[in-house]
């Protein structure tokens, strides 16, 4: 065999080779550095200590519980308790819905509103956007125009049951598909779209063809002057705020296909106190708006 078992002393390190050789590769017979063995033993000792202190080895039907008696459930319960204790000073106030007294207590609101901002960012901002400014399909919460009402109690109800949601008490709001379902002809839709555009610029003529169609088909929900109806969730058409866009093309699309926007019901996902927090937060968003 090549190289045979000739042991050679390596001139750089002074160690002998093992005598093995593979196509020119040799190995030194360097002994274990003491340091390596010591550190290996240290890691084993650290592990053994952990096995004694913590749940570690299976024993068939159970496991060694460890001297510290720690469990994951215990750690979790303790963690949740610590969180609850940290909020206890103000959060219990929000279990009830006396919004007026809560809103006037600046000390409590100072503690609560940063928490509400987190809740809003984690749960609401995905649709209504950071700051509640809304976007196509999702109404702005940072203005004075409300579909269902902007006082904290009404907002809390909307958050609780949702809109067109799966909750049995949901708020319902349907804009029919006037074009697709053949309720209005193409010409009628075109005329009423012009009327709606005129409404928002304040030049609408109720005696026009579009005005008459509006009065017969739209005013029931949107109101005589198109100012919206808080009981039906129909938005005002007489301002410059649009949920689904205010161009003529957008309005034609809305008239053709209808709109059935959905807001989920949150009462199964958020605690009542969280919903009350959010209601106050959202009503303040609107107040802060110009």
């Amino acid at each position: 065999m090549s190289g045979g078992h000739r042991q050679i002393v390596d001139p750089v390190t002074g160690y002998e080779t093992t005598g093995h050789e593979w196509n020119g590769i040799r190995e030194l017979n360097t002994p274990f550095p003491r340091f390596v063995i010591v550190v290996l033993l240290i890691t084993v000792v650290i592990s053994a200590v952990m096995w004694i202190l913590l749940p570690a080895w299976p024993t068939g039907h159970g496991y060694t519980p460890g001297l510290l008696g720690l469990t994951q459930e215990g750690e979790a319960v303790q963690g949740f308790k610590a969180i609850a204790d940290g909020r206890a000073s103000w959060r219990s106030r929000f279990a009830g819905d006396d919004f007026a007294s809560l809103a006037s207590d600046e000390a409590v609101m100072g503690m609560a509103m940063p928490a509400a901002a987190r809740l809003f960012a984690d749960n609401c901002a995905a649709c209504h956007r950071v700051g509640g400014t809304g976007g196509p399909g999702f109404p702005s919460l940072a203005d004075q125009d409300w579909l269902w009402g902007g006082d904290p109690a009404t907002v809390a109800e909307t958050v609780s049951v949702g809109i067109n949601s799966t909750d049995p008490d949901t708020r319902s709001s349907q804009m029919p598909a006037f074009g697709r379902d053949g309720i209005l002809t193409r010409e009628q839709i075109s005329a009423v779209a012009d009327y709606v555009l005129a409404l928002s610029s304040g030049k609408a003529d109720p005696a026009s063809a579009g005005g008459k169609i509006f009065a017969e088909n739209c005013a029931a929900c949107h109101g005589e002057g198109g100012r919206g109806g808080l009981g039906t969730g129909a938005p005002s058409l007489a301002d410059d705020q649009w949920i689904y866009g205010g161009t003529r093309a957008d309005i034609l699309t809305t008239l053709q296909n209808g709109r059935q926007g959905v807001m989920p019901s949150w009462k199964g996902r958020l605690a009542p106190a969280d919903i009350h927090l959010l209601a106050l937060y959202v009503s303040r968003l609107a107040k802060a708006a110009p």
Binding site: M1, S2, D10, V12, T13, T17, T18, H20, W22, N23, G24, I25, R26, E27, L28, N29, T30, P31, F32, P33, V36, V39, L40, T43, V44, I46, S47, M50, W51, L54, P55, A56, W57, P58, Y63, T64, G66, L70, T71, Q72, I83, D85, G86, R87, A88, S89, W90, R91, M111, A112, P114, A115, A117, R118, A121, D122, A125, V130
Partner: protein
């Protein structure tokens, strides 16, 4: 390729190729629609192409008997080419998905370009396509040289390489078409998994048969690692992928594991994919190419034994550290954590052994970018194994888990260690297989080295920052006892790091592209000469 096969091997190959074509036809016919038809068609096309090529060659003259006096390196050449192709494609997809995280709105409205489909294309492409081909190609090269024996036959290396690449292609095209097992690093569906088992058995048998023909009395340490890689990956792959197809005529399957057992099996697989796919095989590479390139003996034979058995024994236990603070029982988490801690010394023994081997060759590290690739690989191996043991400690993990720190840790291992050692190996063996003293563009290696090192550091440092920032933002409480930051704010804080990560990845990709072009230029300028010392000890007739 075919000219080097004996007539009998051409006939056997013809039979295999026909079987592959039939398998493809059967898959396509059974499925009738959906991704399985596309995959069946791929197998059918490959099978027909191979059948045609082999059928034409059956009556050609047989290869020269003198070939028995040489190593069989054609499969290695092909494997290295596939390594580089997969590297460019999969790292390119990596940069793409990194950019998507910074510019999510740039996702085209086409299903296959969604992040969820592209991400496994990146991971499978780099781990299996790039890493796997590099491992198979270098294992054939190292096995022959450390055994001083030619591969046991000329047909099975081609079955292994072509079959493995078909698996990779099935896997990534499947993700793009929307099929996945939803198991990380094991996303490929059931028929691809079964196919890989067959290929892997052929690989294992070829390795053992060649090792049995060795002309050296001892088995070199690199071969222990390659064998551990082949054997353990087979076990992991089979157990984690046990699944029942919903129908034999469709791609969907359901795993036989359920609940927390499924999670445990998955991460036992997942972490040992790191251990035995991304570590053991590449340590085999290191143990061969480092002493060859530096001209130094391995510093300590004993340390190589300690680290081999240490890694083999401890690694198998540590997967549960991926499931800290989950439904997995506490005691399993403790075992995962403690075995991760005990794994540190065997891991560092390998890194230290590699670095100490360079004693007496530091001037070469300074002057030779190829050797510097291997040195940096050993340093990053030490760094990321320390980081791994550290992150496995439960309280540390509560900060780092689910953050980009994990992503940074993985890339310090894969870019810094795995890819660097592969490039060191490629720059050593490609000129040698081309009968040249050096690569066609020696200065490009230097450029590649600095692109790779800078890219890795930019990537890893930005992800460390990103991960620790996320972890701290997620656990920060304000005076009212509620979280200081919303999740959205922690996401917005990531923007600069995600941009830097994209830039770092882009630099690494540029280096890889340079390597691929350099290798292609070198292969085109091959002389066909084989050094007299680079031969089997005795002529070895084909079995």
């Amino acid at each position: 390729m075919i000219a080097s096969l004996s007539i009998a091997q051409r006939r056997n190959g013809l039979a295999f190729a026909l079987c592959l074509a039939l398998l493809g036809l059967l898959m396509a016919a059974a499925a009738q629609h959906g991704p399985m038809v596309v995959h069946g068609a791929m197998a059918l096309v490959l099978g027909i192409a191979l059948t045609g090529a082999l059928a034409r060659a059956v009556y050609d003259p047989p290869p020269e008997a003198a070939r028995a006096s040489f190593y069989y390196d054609d499969p290695t050449r092909f494997g290295i080419a596939m390594t580089l192709i997969w590297a460019v494609v999969a790292m390119g997809v990596g940069v793409w998905v990194a950019a998507l995280l910074y510019w999510p709105e740039a996702t085209p409205a086409v299903p296959w370009t969604s992040f969820g489909r592209l991400r496994p294309v990146h991971t499978t492409g780099v781990i299996f396509g790039f890493g796997g081909n590099a491992l198979i190609a270098t294992s054939f090269y190292v096995l022959q040289r450390t055994s001083r024996a030619r591969l046991a036959d000329e047909l099975s290396p081609w079955i292994v390489l072509l079959g493995f690449n078909l698996f990779c292609l099935w896997a990534v095209t499947g993700y793009l078409m929307g099929i996945t097992q939803s198991k990380e690093y094991a996303e490929a569906e059931w028929y691809a998994d079964l196919w890989l088992v067959v290929i892997w058995v052929v690989y294992f048998v070829l390795y053992i048969r060649t090792l049995a023909r060795r002309a050296e009395p001892h088995i070199y340490v690199a071969n222990w690692y390659y064998l551990a890689f082949i054997l353990v990956v087979a076990i992991l792959h089979i157990i984690n992928n046990l699944a029942l197809p919903v129908s034999f005529a469709g791609a969907k399957s359901v795993t036989i594991w359920s609940g927390v057992q499924d999670a445990m099996v998955q991460w036992w697989y997942g972490h040992n994919a790191v251990a035995f796919f991304l570590t053991a095989g590449f340590l085999g590479m290191l143990y061969y190419f480092l002493p060859v390139r530096s001209g130094r003996p391995i510093w300590s034979y004993r340390l190589s034994i300690l680290s081999f058995w240490g890694i083999t024994f401890f690694y198998i236990w540590v997967g549960s550290h991926h499931l800290h603070y989950t439904a997995l029982p506490y005691w399993v988490q403790t075992l995962g954590m403690t075995f991760s801690i005990m794994l540190l010394v065997p891991s560092w023994a390998s890194a230290g052994n590699a670095i100490a081997t360079l004693n007496g060759a530091w001037h070469k590290v300074r002057d030779d970018a190829t050797l510097r690739f291997m040195f940096v690989a050993a340093v990053f191996y030490g760094l990321s194994t320390f980081e791994g043991s550290f992150l496995a400690i439960r309280p540390v993990n509560s900060l780092s888990h689910y953050t980009d720190w994990t992503v940074g840790h993985v890339h310090s291992g894969t870019l810094g260690w795995v890819a660097m050692i592969v490039f060191g190996a490629i720059y050593t063996l490609v000129p040698q297989l081309s009968g040249r003293d050096q690569m066609a563009w020696p200065r490009a290696i230097e450029w590649h080295f600095w692109l790779a090192v800078t890219g890795t550091l930019v990537y890893v440092v930005s992800m460390w920052n990103a991960g620790i920032t996320q972890g701290l933002m997620w656990r920060s409480y304000g005076p009212s006892g509620t979280l200081t930051y919303s999740f959205l704010q922690s996401l917005q804080a990531m923007a600069p790091y995600y941009l830097l990560r994209t830039i770092g990845g882009g630099m690494f990709l540029a280096g890889t592209l340079l390597c691929a072009l350099n290798c292609s230029a070198t292969a085109r300028a091959a002389t066909g000469e084989v050094a007299a010392s680079d031969r089997p000890l005795l002529p070895m007739p084909v079995e």
